[in-house]
């Protein structure tokens, strides 16, 4: 299948610190990819580079066939608007505007007319129909995260990046959000890349990338939670994986 995002020997340095070390990766269309690894292993950095939020130090990132590295901040933003949606651990809804306005905000910024039917369907799917006119502060954490997911999908992006989307949620809400993501992949063919610390969450994905020290050290196809848990504990203990 056609890859939506490709990374070719992408390195990201912060001073002396190598956050990403020559990562090569292709995310095919319609896949649900989980990224796991110990804290500080470079997961968020990988996501930021892949989503064109940040520029790599070296290597190339291609999104929608365009090399992101050469683009100006503005051009990158325009490209990202079209191809990528983003879901954050802390929801990042703007407190000053209603949930509905939050959802359509990226479209407004892109100057694109919202697709009413599509939005209605999304809102219905996440069960937020009667909360649309509230301010985000009036919603529960799970509801806020679901609103953020609708926002990420509003422009029908090729790929949705999610950085620990369930990190701030209780078990039940986390389950709902993960189910929602999986549904979107299965029923709408959406591509999703999700960073998580929760092995149970990773099991909903098609495949799981395991990172350590800025490198992708393993790719597991639909791993069982136990297997994942074991690998991660070993990683955390500093033992070699291979």
């Amino acid at each position: 299948m056609r890859p939506v995002v490709t990374l070719d020997r992408v390195t990201k340095r912060y001073g002396d610190l190598v956050a990403l070390d020559e990562v090569t990766l292709a995310v095919p269309q319609g896949r649900f990819v989980a990224v796991m690894g110990p804290s500080g292993s470079g997961k968020s950095t990988l996501l930021h580079c892949a989503a064109a939020l940040d520029r790599p130090t070296s290597g190339t990132v291609k999104m929608g066939g365009t090399d992101v590295g050469r683009l100006s901040e503005t051009k990158r933003t325009v490209l990202r608007r079209k191809h990528a949606g983003f879901v954050f651990q802390s929801y990042n809804l703007l407190p000053a505007i209603s949930v509905q306005d939050n959802i359509t905000l990226p479209l407004r910024l892109a100057g694109v007319r919202p697709d009413r039917e599509w939005l209605d369907e999304l809102v219905h799917r996440v069960g937020l129909r009667d909360r649309l006119h509230h301010k985000p502060a009036a919603l529960s954490g799970g509801q806020q995260q679901r609103a953020a997911i609708v926002r990420a999908l509003a422009a029908r992006p090729d790929v949705v990046f999610a950085d620990e989307p369930t990190g701030a949620l209780d078990l039940r809400s986390a389950g709902q959000v993960l189910d929602l993501l999986r549904e979107l992949v299965d029923e709408l063919g959406q591509t999703v890349v999700m960073v998580t610390h929760d092995p149970a969450a990773a099991t909903r994905a098609h495949e799981t990338l395991v990172m350590a020290d800025g490198r992708v050290i393993d790719v597991l196809d639909a791993p069982a939670p136990e297997e994942l848990a074991v690998r991660l504990t070993r990683l955390a203990g500093g033992e070699p994986v291979r």
Binding site: T74, R80, R81, N92, P95, A96, L109, A110
Partner: protein, 801 residues
């Protein structure tokens, strides 16, 4: 606790507090120096060797208020000198006299205290200085002074009489010294109401007797009738005019002092609430970690005081500097004499520091009340809602200000202007209180409108941010609205009153010229008669009288007011627009009154400038009260109770005066004829405007500083927007649009709040619903507000890449 508080503090918010306190400290210290000087500033002492001085009481005690100072010299009987001399412990007692004297040939350096009191009798020199060369002046035409040549002949105008004198002695004291006999004649003590009197008795104590001891003995012997001065109070006894003059210093900052304190409180409070809002999250976490609301408030208070404390010393230094500039201005407009320096004591700075720390303490308590009490769970994303109490209080104040502005419709004396003048500060406080809700409402209406829904992303976001972050926006809107309202209303109120005054004064003095002699402190005797031979002319005396309340809103006790003394010769020349009576009857104990203040035939108790109590008859009433004040006294009455006894000006029909005036040195003719009230009022107006300018500059700097801090603190918010697909250009446009909304809201609110009282004032005083200009101040103030907002927002906005 303190360590936590300081660790948590965000530097941005505290810089705003620091700047607010710095400016506030400067303003309050400067005002304090002026007030302190109003109590203590003095002319240099002349009779330096006199340890004790006995003089008449030069003030009227007022219950529960400061005494009213009497500017004109009240003499004491000459026999008092002998009485004092007999008191044990007195080594020498001299009856001192001062009278107007000036050398008119050549240039001589100005005398401390001015020409009004430059002439003295020779015996005074025994306590003020020494003979350095020559011999004692004995004849009527002999004189001695400091800067001259022995034997030189000088043209001198003394006691209003021009004559030629020969210098027989040089002395090391300022002033002109005449023989005692000549001095008594020139000072008008040989005949008339002041015959046989002296200004004061100057006393030197015998060896071994301390001044305080001697003063006590004198007080026992003489009773309460006389003022017995020692130490620095001697200078006050020497120059009652200076004492009354410095009283003006108390009035000047008083008129705008309340406003400045309010602004300082507002700015400091705004800075603190900004700093608190930036720490909402942390403070909420602190609460979650088990801190009580009280502890949270203490954290906030410690931060506030920590930011305020380092601002105190530099602020005080700035304040003393500012006071000196203000002093120059006061000297420039004649409100303060050049040789009467301001007093730079430590007291103003200490008082200002205590006041400001109090303000910081109260403001931080008030600003942290809500944050400290919010439930532990919320608070993180909560933007805060304006409390209904606050909104209602603000709306009430605005309403009250509207009612007050109506005063000029009901009453048309000068006092009616107090209504609109108080209305503006009230309205401004109201705006600060009700601001958040008003901004929320206005921006909310805008946000819901179809028009805005169709706007581009940045513009749409700007409107919604203004609405959603109403508390944040309203601070800037209220502060800038304050600038517009205060700037417009204070300035235009002054110009409107000035125009109303000159609209009355111009026809009153149409076709007249004014003859004055400022360097002689009065019109020399005989000039009026000579002018009168050529053209109709009237003498005019300016003095001060003290009366009870005359009109609406007057001080209920005693008020000293500058008044004009006119005589029968003013009839047909000066047109007061009489309602009843005639100026021809202005002789003896007679007064004319504003028609709103009294009727012809009534009697009025008046205390003259030297303290003499007079029961005067009202002989005329007039309409031009704005130009002439509520009361005009007879010239005889006025002249009998002034220090100099001279006319201050001559009003005359134009004629060929040049040859006449050539014979009278130091006499000036001006065509411009203003009302006598104009001078005092315009001086006061100028100082008010100067203080206002400093205040508004302070307010603008504080707002700009605050806007920069607010915009910089939005980095997180901007990061989120950027991740959601906003380009840097869009973010910059959004911030600029918000700036436009702030500037527009502030200008709109400011203009509306200033307009209501000004329109009323225009109707009341100018009979038209427009105040006097310069009306370019309206677009001007909008421009200033726009510029400040633009600068403050553009700097951080440019950094977005």
């Amino acid at each position: 606790m303190i360590r936590i508080a300081l660790a948590m503090a965000r530097i941005g918010g505290l810089v705003v507090v620091f700047v607010a306190v710095l400016g506030g400290m400067a303003l309050l210290t400067a005002t304090g120096v002026i007030v302190d000087s109003g109590f203590r500033s003095q002319l240099p002492l002349r009779l330096v060797q006199a340890e004790v001085m006995v003089s008449a009481r030069q003030s009227i005690p007022v219950k529960e208020d400061l005494p009213v100072a009497l500017p004109e010299r009240a003499p004491v009987p000459g026999s008092l000198v002998g009485v004092v001399r007999e008191v044990p412990g007195v080594a020498a007692a001299v009856g001192d006299l001062s009278f107007p004297a000036a050398v008119v040939s050549g240039t001589s350096p100005p005398v401390p205290g001015g020409p009004a009191t430059a002439g003295h009798g020779w015996s005074s020199l025994s306590l003020s200085g020494r003979l350095t060369a020559g011999r004692v002046p004995r004849g009527q035409d002999e004189i001695s002074l400091r800067d001259g040549r022995l034997g030189e002949r000088l043209r001198v105008v003394a006691g209003g009489r021009p004559a030629t004198y020969r210098v027989t002695a040089l002395v090391d004291a300022p002033g002109l010294y005449f023989s005692d006999a000549a001095a008594a004649t020139l000072a008008g003590r040989t005949s008339g109401g002041r015959a046989g009197t002296v200004d004061l008795v100057a006393v030197r104590a015998a060896a071994g007797v301390s001044p305080d001891e001697l003063a006590r003995t004198l007080r026992q012997r003489l009773g309460d009738r006389y003022e017995i001065a020692t130490g620095r109070y001697r200078s006050d006894a020497e120059s009652p005019g200076a004492v009354a003059g410095r009283g003006l210093l108390l009035v000047l900052p008083g008129s705008i002092g309340g406003v400045s304190l309010m602004i300082v409180g507002f700015v400091v409070g705004g800075g603190l609430s900004l700093s608190i809002n930036r720490q909402r999250r942390e403070l909420a976490l602190l609460r979650a970690a088990g801190a009580t609301p009280r502890q949270v408030r203490r954290v906030v208070a410690v931060q506030g005081l920590a930011a305020a404390a380092p601002a105190l010393a530099p602020g005080a230094a700035l304040g003393y500097f500012l006071a000196a500039r203000l002093g120059d201005l006061l000297v420039g407009i004649g409100a303060l004499r050049a040789d009467q320096p301001l007093v730079y004591g430590p007291l103003p700075a200490i008082a200002a520091a205590l006041l400001l720390l109090g303000v910081v303490r109260v403001a931080s308590w008030a600003a942290s009340l809500r944050v400290s009490r919010m439930p532990v769970v919320s608070g993180v994303a909560d933007l805060g809602e304006p409390s209904p109490f606050r909104t209602n209080a603000g709306l009430l104040l605005i309403l009250a200000s509207l009612v007050l502005s109506g005063a000029p419709l009901a009453v048309r004396t000068e006092a009616a202007a107090i209504g609109p003048a108080t209305a503006a500060p009230l309205a401004v406080i109201g705006l600060a209180l009700a601001g958040p809700r008003l901004v929320q409402r206005a921006a909310g209406a805008l946000a819901r409108s179809r028009f805005v829904a169709r706007l581009s992303g940045p513009c749409w976001l700007a409107v919604h941010n203004t609405h959603g972050h109403a508390l944040r926006t309203a601070g800037a809107v209220a502060a800038l609205g304050m600038v517009v309202t205060l700037g417009l209303s204070v300035t235009l109120t002054q110009t409107t009153l000035a125009e109303a005054r000159s609209a009355q004064a111009a026809p009153a003095m149409r076709g007249l010229v004014t003859i004055t002699a400022p360097s002689l402190s009065g019109i020399p005797r005989g000039l009026l008669e000579e002018v009168r031979e050529l053209t109709p002319a009237a003498g005019m005396v300016t003095t001060t009288v003290v009366t009870g309340p005359l009109a609406f809103a007057d001080n209920p006790r005693l008020t000293a007011r500058p008044v004009l003394g006119l005589g029968p010769d003013a009839e047909g020349l000066v047109d007061l627009d009489l309602v009843d009576g005639a100026l021809s009857r202005l002789t003896g104990a007679a007064v004319a009154l504003d028609e709103q203040v009294g009727r012809v035939g009534e009697r009025l108790d008046v205390i003259m400038g030297d303290g003499a109590r007079v029961e005067a008859t009202v002989v005329a009433t007039y309409r031009r009260g704005l130009a002439f004040g509520p009361i005009v006294v007879s010239r005889d009455l006025a002249a009998a109770h002034t220090t100099t006894g001279l006319d201050s000006a001559i009003m005359a029909r134009p004629a060929a005066l040049a040859p006449l005036l050539a014979r009278w040195p130091a006499v000036e003719v001006t065509g411009a004829t203003q009302g006598p009230q104009a001078g005092v009022a315009s001086g006061q107006a100028l100082v008010n405007l100067a203080v206002l300018a400093v205040l508004l500059a302070y307010l603008l700097v504080a707002v700009a500083n605050r806007l920069v801090a607010t915009t910089t603190a939005r980095r997180d918010e901007l990061d989120v927007l950027r991740r959601l697909g906003a380009t840097p250009r869009q973010l910059r446009r959004m911030i600029r649009w918000e700036a436009v909304l702030i500037a527009a809201g502030a200008s709109g609110a400011g203009i509306v709040l200033a307009a209501v009282p000004l329109v009323m004032l225009g109707i009341g005083f100018l009979s038209r619903p427009v105040p006097a200009g310069p009306l370019w101040l309206v677009p001007g103030s909008v421009l200033v507000v726009g510029l400040v907002v633009w600068l403050a927002v553009e700097l951080p906005a440019r950094r977005i890449r």
